[in-house]
């Protein structure tokens, strides 16, 4: 989208249905449509569709297309209504790849243990499954730009992972760690892509007390890619080091303000070049007109173009620094 002149090509919506069939069994489905510039499209997609069975609070199962719990916000990054931010920190939650990262086909085992007043509580989750790239997402666009290959079906692979989070005895403090292991394979008419299993861990912490919140995450994402173009095999790699720190304050019931710094480096490249880093200072405000309608205004001051920029949509070249203003209105019930 021609953002220099401003663009309204940014809309998303979701509708969710769920029902408890018994005390122990719950089913649900959520349909979602998203348009973010060239990404997404008008088609409704299944965000998640799960059956959820409870044996006890310590032992629950979910199966189907399940939202992937990873870090603080991965499973809610598409739910604009619950966040202050227009854009979550892109270093950890890249909007152009949201549809790929959001969920997996498979099963989850999860639960929660109360450790007592002096030790808090522990929530845990493990999962296994499969997921495929979004043909209209950022990773497909990147792969096409890097390799020149055109894929008719989305590359996909197995995914395993888990999350462990501790609600500490200190009221409002939660710390945790997630890890995801995945591979990827895909065939095009003129070649293929292979990404062997790689592990992406993230650690996080969040403190919320009264009107004040502070949170942060650190993620390391190493990957090795192999493109096969006819008889030739072309390796590529990246080593993303990503973190952010955010804080917010609810001035009153309807007005919520905050800011964050989001940091990305591809340590496999020359990190002095803007193409391999992104340093994003963001400041945001949200006003809830009533229980249903809200408005957000957010400014970004971005140094580097290592995240979210594509040569194919910027034929005149990329600027080393960008300032962005985003305004959004939303409706939820």
């Amino acid at each position: 989208m021609n953002t220099s002149a401003g663009s309204a090509r940014w809309t998303d919506g979701a509708i969710s249905f769920n029902d408890s069939l018994s005390d122990k069994l719950r089913i649900g489905i959520q349909l979602h449509a998203s348009q973010f510039g060239d990404f997404g499209g008008p088609n409704l997609q299944v965000d998640w569709a799960t059956g959820d069975y409870t044996i006890s609070d310590k032992a629950k199962f979910a199966a189907g297309k399940v939202k992937t719990v990873y870090g603080l916000f991965n499973d809610s990054q598409d739910v604009d209504a619950v966040h202050l931010w227009v854009l979550l920190p892109e270093s950890v939650y890249p909007t152009d790849n949201k549809s790929f990262l959001l969920s997996h086909y498979g099963g989850d085992f999860y639960g929660r243990i109360n450790l007592g007043k002096r030790r808090g509580s522990l929530s845990y989750r493990g999962y296994a499954g499969y997921r495929a790239l979004d043909m209209n997402g950022g990773y497909m666009k990147n792969i096409t730009e890097l390799s020149g290959l055109t894929f008719n079906t989305a590359p996909g692979g197995n995914v395993f992972g888990g999350d462990l989070r501790w609600d500490t005895p200190l009221k409002g403090l939660q710390v945790g760690v997630s890890a995801i292991v995945m591979n990827l394979d895909g065939k095009a008419s003129a070649g293929s892509i292979h990404v062997p299993y790689a592990t992406d861990p993230v650690i996080y912490a969040r403190f919320e007390r009264g009107r004040f919140m502070v949170a942060g995450e650190y993620k390391r994402q190493p990957a090795f890619l192999e493109f096969r173009l006819g008889p030739a095999t072309i390796p590529s790699r990246f080593d993303a080091q990503c973190w952010y720190a955010m804080s917010s304050y609810r001035i009153h019931e309807r007005l919520h303000v905050g800011g964050y710094y989001s940091h990305f480096l591809d340590r496999s490249r020359d990190t002095a070049l803007p193409a391999y880093f992104s340093k994003d200072w963001a400041v945001s405000g949200r006003y809830d007109l009533n229980s249903y309608f809200y408005a957000k205004l957010e400014g970004h001051f971005i140094d580097g173009n290592g995240l979210g920029y594509y040569n194919s949509t910027n034929p005149a070249g990329l600027q080393p620094k960008t300032n962005m203003l985003a305004a959004k209105i939303g409706f939820s019930f």
Binding site: S16, D57, A81, V82, G210, E253, R254
Partner: protein, 141 residues
Amino acid sequence: MKNLQSLLVAVALAVCASGNAQAGNVKVIANASVKADSISGDEVKSVFLQETSSLRDGSHVEPVLAKGGAAHEAFLKEYLGKSDSVLQTYYRSLVFTGKGSMPRTLGSDAEVTAYVAKTKGAIGYVSAGAGSEGAKTLQVR
């Protein structure tokens, strides 16, 4: 000096009295199928934030909320530490991530009491002085 000390004691007593009165503004009620006669404040919070769906005694519980009002505000302040808008956002995050559902919300103490009385596992709250015929009052420790 003696007058100042008396004034400080009086203010302290007034603050304590108002705190106790606030907690005493609301009572937690449950369906007769819930075995427990008492419940901890932490359990109340866990149940209403849908972190747990059963009490320590194994009773399955489902939270029921009031739609506004003095009892609702007192309950949120005393047990959940969240405003109504923050709580609604929290429930929305559960719904849209597939982790939970919006709890039933009812318009008055009488409606909450009637629903809790007839629904297995239901747990709710009403004004301290409201009638709760058919439902049991849980002591919050």
